[in-house]
């Protein structure tokens, strides 16, 4: 049973990690992330990078949808904006990758603000439709502004480089993706310790009440769109450096649905939920694939026969999680923690 966590100040109460045990675990996690590429092959590094990119984008969407209550199905299109920006800057200007990523995030944020304008008038499903419309427009631009985006063929870009070293393989690109993901997650978590973050939560809980409290809806709703799109833009930029080919078909609407599903499964209004949701949505299909692969030596056609079953199992798992824990994986995680905090007493 955990004892001795009395907080004597507001700052201590609002701390991200309020116990030594938590700080210890976080230190271990960071150490694990630093050591990971030395103990994994290209395949594992690839998956980790993919998960990290998805975490950044999911965290961005969670800021908008989970914390501010504004539903968006434009996350993939914003990622596309970021990816094209990075690709163009890398191809045409050859500027440093960090600058490219910042500009990618910035441009996505500006477009996010424009797309967010209808949020002042509409909410819920209506806003979702508005963001789908924006997504369709952006895809049209990607596919038809051929002189800039390369049209349907898209753009092939060189890898990111630093002092002559090129980040080509997954275990090399990891050193770009991992630190940026960690920084952005800390940024997102800290956001909700500030006035801005609390304003987002107030708007989500009741926007009229928030306005009565002095929160300017126009500013904060658009700010939420901007921050969320910034995250998507950076994630798209990382995606571009990872795959080095950007086409209009790289960021379909189903990808936006993927991120929405990730925050629902992981836990709306929780940064931990963003992480768990992205990990779940990215890794469970791979784990199920591995399980099918195990059958291959004894059943040669297992891949063909079991692949559709795998999809059904994945869908079933999402439904089961939602039925038994509507607050998502983050809540399951909190329950587990609570159990150990109070052990041997019952929660």
């Amino acid at each position: 049973m955990r004892i001795g966590t009395v907080k004597e100040s507001y700052i201590a109460d609002a701390a991200l990690f309020d116990t030594k045990v938590q700080r210890g675990w976080m230190f271990a996690l960071l150490a694990g992330l630093l050591l990971l590429p030395f103990f994994t092959g290209q395949y594992a590094s690839y998956l980790v990078c993919l998960v990290l990119i998805n975490i950044v984008s999911t965290a961005g969407l969670n800021i908008l949808t989970g914390f501010t209550g504004l539903v968006s199905l434009g996350q993939a299109a914003f990622m596309g904006v970021g990816a094209y920006t990075v690709a163009l800057m890398e191809i045409k200007l050859g500027t440093p990758f960090l600058l490219n990523l910042l500009v990618a995030g910035g441009l996505a944020a500006v477009i996010g603000i424009v797309v967010g304008l209808p949020s002042l008038r509409v909410k819920g499903l209506y806003l979702a439709i508005a963001t789908i419309a924006a997504s369709v427009i952006l895809h049209f631009v990607f596919a038809n502004w051929t002189s800039v985006t390369g049209g349907v063929s898209g753009l092939s870009m060189p890898p990111a480089s630093l002092f002559g070293f090129e980040f080509i393989q997954p275990d090399q690109v990891y050193w770009i993706i991992m630190p940026i993901t960690v920084i952005m997650l800390f940024g997102a978590a800290n956001l909700f310790r500030t006035r801005i973050g609390r304003a987002f939560i107030a708007i989500r809980d009741r926007d009229i009440s928030a306005e009565v409290l002095g929160i300017r809806l126009l500013r904060y709703k658009l700010l939420s769109f901007a921050i969320s799109s910034f995250y998507a833009g950076v994630a798209g930029g990382l995606w571009a450096y990872f795959f080095r080919v950007v086409t209009p078909e790289s960021f379909p609407l189903t990808m936006s649905i993927f991120f929405l599903a990730a925050i629902i499964v992981g836990g709306m209004g929780s940064i931990l939920g963003s992480v768990l949701g992205a990990v779940f949505m990215t890794m469970v299909p791979e784990v199920l694939k591995m399980m099918v692969g195990v059958l291959s030596p004894i059943w040669p056609d297992a891949v063909a026969v079991m692949s559709p079953v795998r999809i059904i199992v994945f869908g079933g798992l999402i439904i089961i999680f939602l039925i038994f824990e509507p607050d998502g994986l983050a809540e399951i995680w909190r329950n587990i923690r609570r159990f150990f905090h109070l052990w041997p007493f019952k929660t």
Partner: protein, 390 residues
């Protein structure tokens, strides 16, 4: 012991020794791995399942015939759901677990994405479901092979047929608003000009869209003699044909490879009658002389196999032939040598998969034949001889 018995035992011992030595030699030869990012689920699953079956069967036939110069061919597939990130994950997974020399990829986007990695590793020759003309560039994509004509070539074959059938004909091109759909548009314009055809209609639609009434009105105004569909599997082709017929248009409708599966065309019902298109391979049911491979396929599977099956099958035997050429030349199996082995394929007899001997040109095999659907037979039947583009 009689001399006969001694001789028998000695022969038996020699045979056994020979077999053991032979087996040891065979097992000494390293397996050749054919990896596959195969879309067994997702929007392209209708083709992925057929491709997988085609590759599986051709690998079995190759191995039953002694492998590739004694090397066993091992097929390692992974499902990708037709998503680029899943395809790359599958590639990374398979290449981290096996020494992969041959690979089948599921899309143009994947081919373009993985191409730098193929160049970097220098170990693998890749083919796949894409016939994108962009990939037909040995300088830019030295490790990629297109198992048939490119989409531009396909439209070229159809236009060549049209020019023979009706010189100066009016032609329309209806394509989907995708990378796949847009691929042959510019090439079609150039080919039409070259062949003296009047390409008087180019329409793009959403893939799978069903409300095509506006587009059919455009078609009615242009009154083309032929309309080529590209970038679709089925829908909206039946909607186009149905509405055009109800408006009294006598236009002939054509498709490219992925809309040429016999069963798929049959699903159009009565309006399928006369539907034409280009197919690089013989159909499962084709009765041709000197077609032992088609006979083998029919003996292995007694029900109809799709055009995707034939594509997977053909891809595998071509890559196996490239590997065979490399081994025969005593060279190391790697990307550049495999491409050389591929380029060395001249007048190759595919056992009836293609109706004429195959020669690789660039990264592709620009051969095809025009077929037409015969409603009474419920089959696509040849409407031209084999056409080779030079």
């Amino acid at each position: 012991m009689s001399i006969l018995k001694v001789a028998k035992r000695a022969t038996g011992a020699l045979l056994a020794a020979g077999l053991i030595t032979g087996a040891a030699q065979a097992s000494d030869k390293k397996d050749i791995v054919l990896g596959g990012s195969i879309p067994l689920t997702g929007v392209f699953a209708f083709a992925g399942v057929g491709i997988h079956a085609g590759i599986t069967d051709s690998v079995k036939i190759i191995n039953d015939a002694g492998g590739i110069e004694g090397h066993k061919l091992v097929y390692v597939p992974e499902d990708t759901a037709y998503k680029v990130d899943a395809s790359v994950a599958a590639y990374n997974k398979i290449t981290s677990q096996h020494d992969v020399n041959l690979y089948y990829g599921d899309s143009t986007a994947f081919s373009k994405t993985i191409s730098p990695e193929l160049d970097r590793s220098g170990k693998t020759l890749m083919t796949g479901a894409s016939f994108a003309s962009e990939l037909n560039d040995p300088e830019k994509y030295p490790n990629i092979f297109i198992p048939g004509p490119t989409y531009v070539d396909m439209v070229g074959i159809l236009m060549k047929h049209i020019a023979n059938e009706k010189p100066g004909a009016k032609v329309g091109l209806v394509h989907s608003e995708t990378e796949f759909g847009r691929d042959p548009v510019e090439g079609a314009k150039a080919t039409a000009k070259e062949l003296g055809l009047d390409l008087n209609l180019v329409i793009s639609t959403a893939p799978g869209g069903v409300d095509v009434s506006t587009e059919v009105l455009k078609m009615r105004r242009a009154r083309p003699d032929y309309v080529i569909f590209h970038g679709y599997v089925l829908s909206p082709i039946p909607e186009f044909i149905g509405q055009a017929r109800s408006m009294g248009l006598d236009t002939k409708f054509m498709g490219t490879f992925w809309s040429m599966d016999n069963q798929m065309v049959g699903k159009m019902g009565e309006i399928a009658d006369g539907f034409m298109g280009v197919m690089p391979y013989n159909y499962y049911y084709t009765e041709a002389e000197n077609a032992p491979m088609l006979e083998k396929i029919r003996s292995m599977r007694d029900t109809y196999q799709s055009n995707a099956y034939m594509q997977g099958f053909f891809s595998t035997i071509m890559m196996a032939e490239a590997a065979r050429n490399v081994i025969k030349a005593g060279k190391e199996l790697n990307g550049p040598n495999l491409h050389e082995g591929l380029e060395a394929i001249k007048d190759f007899d595919t056992g009836g998969l293609m109706g004429i001997p195959v020669t690789v040109k660039g990264n592709s095999v620009p051969i095809g034949r025009v077929y037409q659907y015969d409603l009474s037979k419920k089959q696509m039947v040849p409407s031209s001889d084999w056409i080779r583009l030079d």
